[in-house]
């Protein structure tokens, strides 16, 4: 008997008697005989827990983790400190083995946690309403584009060249299949070029989509972009980093209509790229156009405060093909993790993380450029990441660094054609000693 399957052959026999059939095979009599698989699946036999552990650790040995390597790699996935309590709380099985909270009376834990998550996302971004999460930052951006197209009844979106290349690719796939036009706003000196935006924007532009800090880590000033965008009655979509919002101007302060981004940085493991968590917050005007679940506050029959999934008339299980999106499962557990992170860091802690990141990144950039061998690719203010141009291709430098147990930066030649360009990332986890070692090694490569 398999350990996950309790009913024995004797149970099965007794149950077949109640059903009134003689054999297990009769259960499948509705399947045409030529569709019954007449052989065993070509998979190995099941193995014990001990064997699983051995096999998985053997596989794991072929990986080198960020516990093992000093990570200066970012580009959309970040090696931040994760407080210990997160795993203890998020691994409570009442949270992780629960289904979507469709039965609110026995789901108040999940529902309240999401309500608190929505509140904190609104507080971080300054926006009016947040949904309960989307798959990741890239798909959140695509959903925002669709939302803008639906609410403006225009059919083109403009996305900045400084947006993460993968996000732009995801946007293209989504827009392409829906026959929405997409155009890129070229950059100038590492930031979205407002002059190019002026040339591109027209009566069919539903949205202008920008990222800040952008892919190069540069903090973009959206003041002028906002004027151009709203002057054209387009919507401004901004992809932001939640930690940076402890110090940087919030999307709402710029007059952004939809703020999106990835909240992996809020306590979620790197996980080789997923699961992460996309967030979306918007102005109240756009509330009923938003995709995905939302939790609202209400009262129960006894007058107690209670939480429930709401505004479901937007969603697929009610509206079917008229829904604002097809999303059903989202990233609830990752939203819980993000919440626990935000609560644990709190008002002061999140600011402290953001400050340390900035100080350490500036320190690293200063050290690395001091010798003259490397220079900043752009003379712009940055957060957590900065682009350097050096004497050699980043892949070559990274090979040397890896030999010294350092995970080097992202090669900027591939996507941006910046020859010998590398994007380095410094989080609060990096120490002075690690940064100095990186500098020393890069000086001699």
């Amino acid at each position: 008997m398999h350990r996950y399957i309790p009913n024995t052959d004797a149970d099965a026999k007794a149950m077949l008697d109640v059903i009134g059939i003689k054999s297990m095979d009769q259960l499948f009599q509705g399947i045409p005989d030529d569709l019954i698989l007449k052989r065993a699946l070509k998979l190995d036999s099941g193995i014990s827990e001990l064997e699983i552990e051995r096999k998985m650790k053997e596989l794991g040995k072929k990986n080198r983790s960020t516990d093992d390597l000093v990570c200066f790699l970012g580009a959309g996935a970040y090696d931040h400190y994760i407080p210990s309590i997160i795993k203890h709380l998020a691994k409570r099985s009442e949270f992780y083995t629960a289904y979507t909270p469709y039965q609110p009376e026995i789901s108040q834990g999940t529902l309240q946690a999401i309500f608190e998550y929505q509140t904190m996302i609104c507080n971080l971004t300054g926006m009016d309403v947040s949904n309960a999460s989307l798959y990741d930052g890239a798909t959140a951006c695509a959903e925002a584009a669709i939302m803008a197209v639906d609410s403006t009844r225009r059919n083109t979106v403009l996305v900045s060249e400084t947006m993460h290349p993968e996000t732009r690719q995801v946007l293209k796939s989504y827009m392409h299949s829906r026959e929405i036009n997409i155009a890129e706003i070229p950059m100038a000196d590492g930031v979205t070029d407002p002059e190019m935006l002026k040339k591109l924007i027209d009566a069919d532009s539903a949205a202008v989509i920008v990222q800040s800090p952008n892919f190069f880590g540069i903090v973009e000033d959206l003041t002028e972009i906002e004027k151009i965008t709203h002057g054209n009655r387009s919507l401004l979509v901004s992809s932001v980093d939640p930690i940076s919002l402890a110090i940087l101007k919030k999307p709402a302060e710029y007059g952004v209509d939809i703020a999106v981004g990835d909240a992996q940085v809020l306590g979620n493991n790197l996980n080789y790229g997923g699961p992460y968590i996309g967030f979306m917050a918007a102005t109240s005007k756009l509330m009923r156009k938003m995709p995905g679940r939302m939790v609202g506050q209400s009262l129960d029959v006894d007058g107690r405060r209670a939480f429930v999934l709401t505004l479901q008339a937007r969603e697929q299980h009610i509206r079917r093909y008229k829904a604002t999106s097809n999303i059903c499962s989202n990233q609830s557990l990752n939203a819980l993790i993000a919440s626990i992170y935000m609560v644990t860091m709190g008002k002061k802690g999140l600011r402290e993380v953001a400050l340390q990141i900035t100080e350490k990144a500036y320190y690293a950039a200063g050290r690395l450029t001091a010798g003259g061998k490397y220079k900043l690719a752009f003379d712009q203010p940055f957060f957590r990441e900065f682009a350097l141009i050096g004497p050699k291709d980043a892949d070559l430098i990274n090979r040397e660094l890896l030999a010294n147990n350092i995970l080097g930066g992202y090669n900027l030649n591939k996507e941006y054609g910046i020859e010998n360009g590398v994007l380095l990332c410094v989080t609060e986890k990096r120490t002075k000693q690690e940064i100095d070692q990186l500098t020393d090694l890069m000086e001699v490569i």
Binding site: M287, V301, V308
Partner: protein, 485 residues
């Protein structure tokens, strides 16, 4: 702490904190010396100020207001709430899997790539497909990707008229929504009263404008589509493709394969069939499998192998492109992979057989007390139509809410839409006969209560942290965040 009802914000007190960070060893620099003032916020970010024990108690007490699979039986139809093995969690938390950066050099992630490559093979073998992309984040995302592939296939052939997707009225809501997401028009066809595709309706709907048909098999009524080969032939002859919604795959592992039935594209729900947890609504994973003629359209990157070395292959000119950052929900893949290792070929087959056994056993015992619109052998789930000799007074909702008082998560209700007062029950294979009997006894007791004391059902649940909630109020005057007042 009984009756705990605080929001985390209501615990906040100035000066408290739960965070712990080392001193900044590169020294302090005034922020304005690094970033120009006009880029900085003028407002402090509003987050709670609480101590560590506050955080721990708050979320522990919240978790106790939840009902999870580890709490009890969860017979949610079409959701396959099977036991989530603990070893899966342990394996996905191993440092060598949890702490990998997606842009690490391939040489440093050979174990992760090997796992994904093997999982692609395993899932392909289980469904009879050629290759699987592991990237989609959830079932609905998988549907969207599958439909993008269907669109790309027709487009490459220059067959640009195919703008319509056929969806039966018994389908999951995500099916039509996903088709709309990809810019298809939807043709809804009727189901027969036993939930099968209405062949005449299908024939009438088929044309050279149809890109494909989306189907789940077994159907949402828990019955195997007997005409599936004929359906596949009709759709293919009309130039369309067949899409398999894998929500109900738990009925057929090792028994029958969508690929052999004639399906061209399939999505799996790793969080249903392959035991990864639902997480209170996600993360799931919705890999997409295709037959040989569609492999070239799968999203990039695919995991390939050259000699002993695994690599990410982006060189696919006909690919639909990227549909998500990086490579999908790797953490979920590790869990599903662990599960398949634990089950093996015979374990998976036994799982499906016992899932179907459990469903039929429950159906046989319950049909005396509840309406059973279709009384024939079912697959992994079945649909009841409310109380057998019920009046309009007691609804399916009342029955569901009363089940909560008996300590159960209710079945899926009011779905599929084609059954009046539907109660859709899916026990899964991980429940014992004793558990099923106890649940059945509760259902029988509720049927009796409906006659003797309907009020107790109307007012249910009675002993939950909150009772029935005013959903109209929530939607009419939306309060979607806490505000300090």
């Amino acid at each position: 702490m009984r009756g705990y009802n605080k929001l985390i914000f209501e615990l906040s007190k100035e000066g408290r904190n739960a965070f712990s960070l080392p001193e900044n060893d590169v020294g302090r620099t005034p922020l304005e010396d690094m970033l120009p003032a006009h880029l900085l916020t003028k407002e402090e970010v509003e987050l709670p100020e609480v101590s560590e024990v506050d955080v721990v108690r708050h979320y522990t007490l919240l978790s106790k207001k939840n009902y999870g699979l580890d709490t009890g039986f969860y017979p949610l139809g079409s959701c396959t709430m099977k036991y989530n093995p603990k070893i899966n969690e342990d394996m996905s938390s191993l440092d060598c899997f949890a702490n990998l950066h997606p842009y690490q050099p391939e040489d440093t992630v050979q174990g992760a790539l090997a796992l994904m490559y093997d999982l692609d093979y395993m899932l392909s073998e289980i469904s009879g497909m050629s290759r699987v992309s592991l990237q989609p984040a959830a079932g609905a995302h998988g549907e969207m990707v599958g439909l993008m592939i269907i669109k790309a296939y027709h487009k490459k052939r220059g067959d640009n008229k195919r703008t319509k997707i056929i969806v039966p009225d018994s389908a999951h809501g995500t099916n039509p929504a996903s088709a709309a997401m990809v810019g298809f028009d939807i043709i809804e066809i009727k189901s027969t009263k036993d939930g099968a595709v209405d062949m005449e309706d299908l024939k009438a709907a088929l044309s050279d404008e149809v890109a494909g048909l989306m189907l789940t098999n077994p159907s949402t009524l828990g019955l195997f589509e007997k005409n599936i080969k004929e359906i596949a032939d009709l759709v293919h002859e009309a130039g369309g493709l067949l899409y398999y919604d894998g929500a109900n795959m738990n009925a057929i592992m090792g028994i029958s394969r969508p690929g052999d039935m004639g399906f061209d594209v399939i999505h799996y729900n790793l969080h249903k069939t392959f035991s990864t947890p639902h997480g209170g609504g996600g993360p799931g994973a919705g890999p997409v499998g295709v037959k040989e003629h569609l492999v070239e359209f799968l999203p990039v990157p695919m995991i390939e192998k050259s000699g002993d070395r695994y690599f990410l292959d982006y060189d696919k000119p006909y690919s639909i492109g990227k549909i998500k950052s990086f490579y999908g929900h790797f953490g979920v893949m590790v869990r599903a992979y662990t599960y398949i290792l634990a089950m093996g070929a015979e374990g998976l087959k036994d799982a499906s057989r016992k899932a179907v056994l459990n469903a039929n056993y429950m159906m046989a015992r319950l049909k005396e007390y509840y309406k059973l619109p279709i009384d024939e052998i079912c697959q992994h789930e079945f649909v009841l139509g409310g109380l057998k000799d019920g009046t309009d007074e007691v609804t399916t909702l009342d029955i569901a809410k009363r089940l909560i008082d008996y300590g159960y998560h209710p079945p899926t209700i009011y779905f599929p839409l084609i059954v009046h007062e539907a109660i859709m029950v899916e026990p899964t294979e991980t429940e014992s006969r004793e558990t099923l009997d106890e649940f059945i006894d509760a259902m029988i007791r509720i049927a009796e209560e409906a006659k003797e004391n309907p009020q107790v059902l109307k007012e249910a649940p009675h002993n939950t942290p909150v009772r029935r909630i005013d959903e109209v109020l929530a939607a009419r005057k939306p309060v979607l965040k806490w505000q300090n007042d």
